[in-house]
């Protein structure tokens, strides 16, 4: 139970899809002009992640990873099909997105119209594929945890697009310098929002349950934090360049 709660908060706030890994930026930037549309897209992302991550977990567990085919018989035990991860994961995702599209068109035509091209584009949204790949690389242990991971990283993305949509509605009449209007200022806002989200960086890493492995985890957390800082600096420099 504790690990579920921990994973939930971690993937919403600490490893936020947008602010920690900068995934799913294209739809995040393009569909964040209005709050209502952003909510629709965010909900779609949560749903797709919640479905595809557990599905891909099963794929990974029983087909792809090293020795996963052992259930077919001992002669298959040393197959490693993980080079097929990308193509199989994306196939699952594309199928699911088609399904979501059909359902949304049927039940909420107005949302379908306002989402426009971006609903099919969820299929190639890096946040969705990223969810599955992180699930694989972070070695998530059970299907339940994978479901949790899918939902919570979806919620993280949802929160991000919700916040930026509200901010963009607020600054609609601001006197932003002409060269920065539109995407430029949105990038800068995203960088500043990432600073806000850094409040959670490194949180919970000094866990008390596993005192034995505490030092390696904190070390890796430090390294991770360094990487994160670099990333923010990069963003800062990018914004600086933009500014110039």
């Amino acid at each position: 139970m504790l690990e579920h709660i921990e994973l939930f908060f971690k993937s919403i706030f600490i490893d936020n899809m947008v602010f920690a890994t900068f995934l799913g930026m294209c739809s995040y930037l393009a569909v964040s002009k209005k709050v209502t549309t952003a909510v629709g897209l965010g909900a779609a992302v949560i749903f797709v992640l919640a479905v595809t991550v557990p599905l891909n977990w099963y794929l990974d567990q029983y087909i792809l990873r090293d020795g996963a085919l052992a259930w077919l018989g001992p002669e298959y035990a040393d197959y490693d099909l993980s080079f097929l991860s990308f193509i199989l994961f994306i196939a699952t995702i594309a199928t699911m997105v088609q399904l979501v599209e059909i359902v949304v068109e049927k039940f909420s035509p107005s949302l379908y119209n306002s989402l426009g091209i971006f609903l099919p584009l969820i299929a190639v949204n890096c946040a969705i594929l990223g969810g599955s790949l992180f699930m694989q690389s972070r070695d998530i242990q059970s299907a339940g945890l994978a479901l949790n991971y899918g939902i919570s990283s979806g919620i993280g993305w949802f929160l991000a697009i919700l916040a930026i949509a509200a901010i963009r509605e607020k600054i609609r009449y601001s006197n932003v310098p002409a060269p920065l209007r539109g995407l430029g200022i949105t990038f800068i806002i995203t960088g500043l929002m990432a600073i806000g989200f850094m409040s959670f960086g490194g949180m919970l890493t000094g866990g008390d349950e596993d005192e034995g492995v505490a030092s390696p985890t904190t070390e890796s957390a430090v390294i991770k934090e360094d990487a994160k800082e670099e990333k923010t600096l990069e963003v800062a420099s990018i914004t600086n360049e933009k500014e110039n």
């Binding site: 509200a166 901010i167 490194g202 800082e229």
Partner: protein, 408 residues
């Protein structure tokens, strides 16, 4: 009124020229402008944006003054502590002569005033440049930011770091959004966040809070001063300060945040002049207390024992969270920033509550950042427009329903 007339003449002389905004700014900073509206549906009042900003600065001055003396006091106290004579040097009571003396003032003036000068100099320079390029009047938004910045940094921060951070904060944090009143994040906190993440060694630890501690480190006359939060984060069971020290402010910390009693005076002043929102201040404190109570409950229930890394801060009595660290300073001067806070009354309650709640959460759960208040406020700045959006939508729905009931 000679000065005023002269300034007015200067302004008229340069009207339409490139430097006009600069003279206009000087004039309106000191006096109310000569030209006012004559017709139309305007409310005429003398308290324009500059007057508002000046009021906040007046509320901040006691903190600055105390910070100047405290800089010297912490310095000499740390030396006395290293020499083993701390008990004699200790300030007893608010009017202690160990605190209010010229030695302390000299050190404080030598360290704090340059921070103020650099902050204002660099910040206003950037503002003037932007105003001249854009051809509008100089915006007064930096007046408060420039005073807040020296109060929320450690005493010995190198001045060039402060200058770089101020440029970042003013340009990226404010000017790119179109200037004062348009920014998303509080510029002063943006500056502090920039310093915190870019130069962490100068922003945290037990060496940065006391003047000269960094230079003397490792030497025979080494001194140090850990903040109370820092000691608690390392699971210290006893701290060398009592409650009156914390409340009156004789503790190490950022320049202006230590004296709780002066912050309360400033808060009353801001509430009385209706410039700070009492809703935000009050709900922030409530949020902090609630989170503190939850952590106390966790400790009392025995879910966590004293081997845990979080035990030290979790077992701090909930009310004590208000007098250690900068939660009070943040709640009074930072969270109430009318631009970046929620604009709706209901939104202000939610916004403030979450600030307090998340501050204490970061303080306890994030050993890397024992002081989470500024990050919590930045985070809620990000979500303030979202809160407002839903409060407004809720009101719209309520009224629509009322309309339906009436017409039905």
């Amino acid at each position: 009124m000679g000065l005023k007339q002269n300034l007015h003449k200067l302004k008229l002389k340069y009207e339409g020229k490139k430097m006009a905004p600069a003279f206009n700014a000087l004039h309106t900073f000191l006096y109310s402008p000569n030209e006012t509206t004559h017709s139309g549906a305007h409310i005429r009042a003398v308290d324009d944006l500059k007057r508002t900003m000046n009021t906040v600065i007046i509320a901040l001055l006691p903190c600055l003054l105390f910070g100047i003396f405290n800089a010297g006091y912490q310095h000499y106290y740390a030396i006395a502590e290293a020499a083993g004579t701390a008990a004699q040097y200790r300030a007893d009571g608010f009017f202690s002569t160990n605190f209010w003396n010229w030695d302390n003032f000299a050190i404080g003036a030598w360290t704090v005033l340059p921070l103020v000068i650099v902050s204002y100099g660099v910040g206003l320079l950037v503002e003037f440049i932007f105003a001249v390029i854009k051809g509008h009047e100089v915006e007064e938004g930096y007046l408060v930011t420039g005073m807040l910045v020296p109060l929320i940094v450690p005493i010995d921060i190198p001045l060039w770091m402060l200058a770089v951070a101020v440029v970042f904060g003013v340009v990226i944090g404010k000017e790119v959004f179109g200037g004062t009143g348009m920014n998303i994040l509080n510029p002063a906190l943006t500056i502090r966040a920039f310093l915190f993440f870019a130069y962490p060694t100068w922003m945290s630890g037990d060496k940065v809070w006391v003047h000269e501690a960094v230079e003397r480190a490792g030497g025979p006359d080494a001194i140090s001063g850990e903040t109370i939060l820092g000691s608690y984060a390392q699971n210290a069971t006893t701290i060398p300060y009592d409650y009156s020290d914390m409340f009156l402010g004789f503790i190490p910390g950022s320049v202006g945040e230590t004296s709780k009693i002066l912050i309360i005076v400033g808060a009353l002043f801001l509430i009385f002049t209706k410039i700070g929102s009492w809703r935000i201040i009050f709900s922030t404190l409530v949020g902090a207390l609630v989170m503190g109570l939850i952590f106390n409950g966790v400790v009392d229930a025995g879910w966590i024992d004293d081997t845990s890394k979080f035990h030290g801060l979790m077992s701090v009595p909930f009310w004590q969270h208000l007098i250690i660290g900068s939660i009070l300073f943040g709640a009074v001067y930072m969270a109430t920033d009318p631009v970046t806070a929620s604009q709706t009354n209901k939104g202000k309650w939610i916004y403030g509550f979450l600030i307090g709640f998340i501050s204490i959460m970061i303080r306890v759960f994030n050993p890397a950042y024992p002081e989470g208040v500024f990050l919590a406020i930045l985070l809620m700045n990000v979500f303030a427009p979202t809160i407002d959006h839903y409060v407004v939508q809720g009101n719209v729905k309520k009224r629509l329903k009322r309309l339906k009931v009436k017409t039905a």
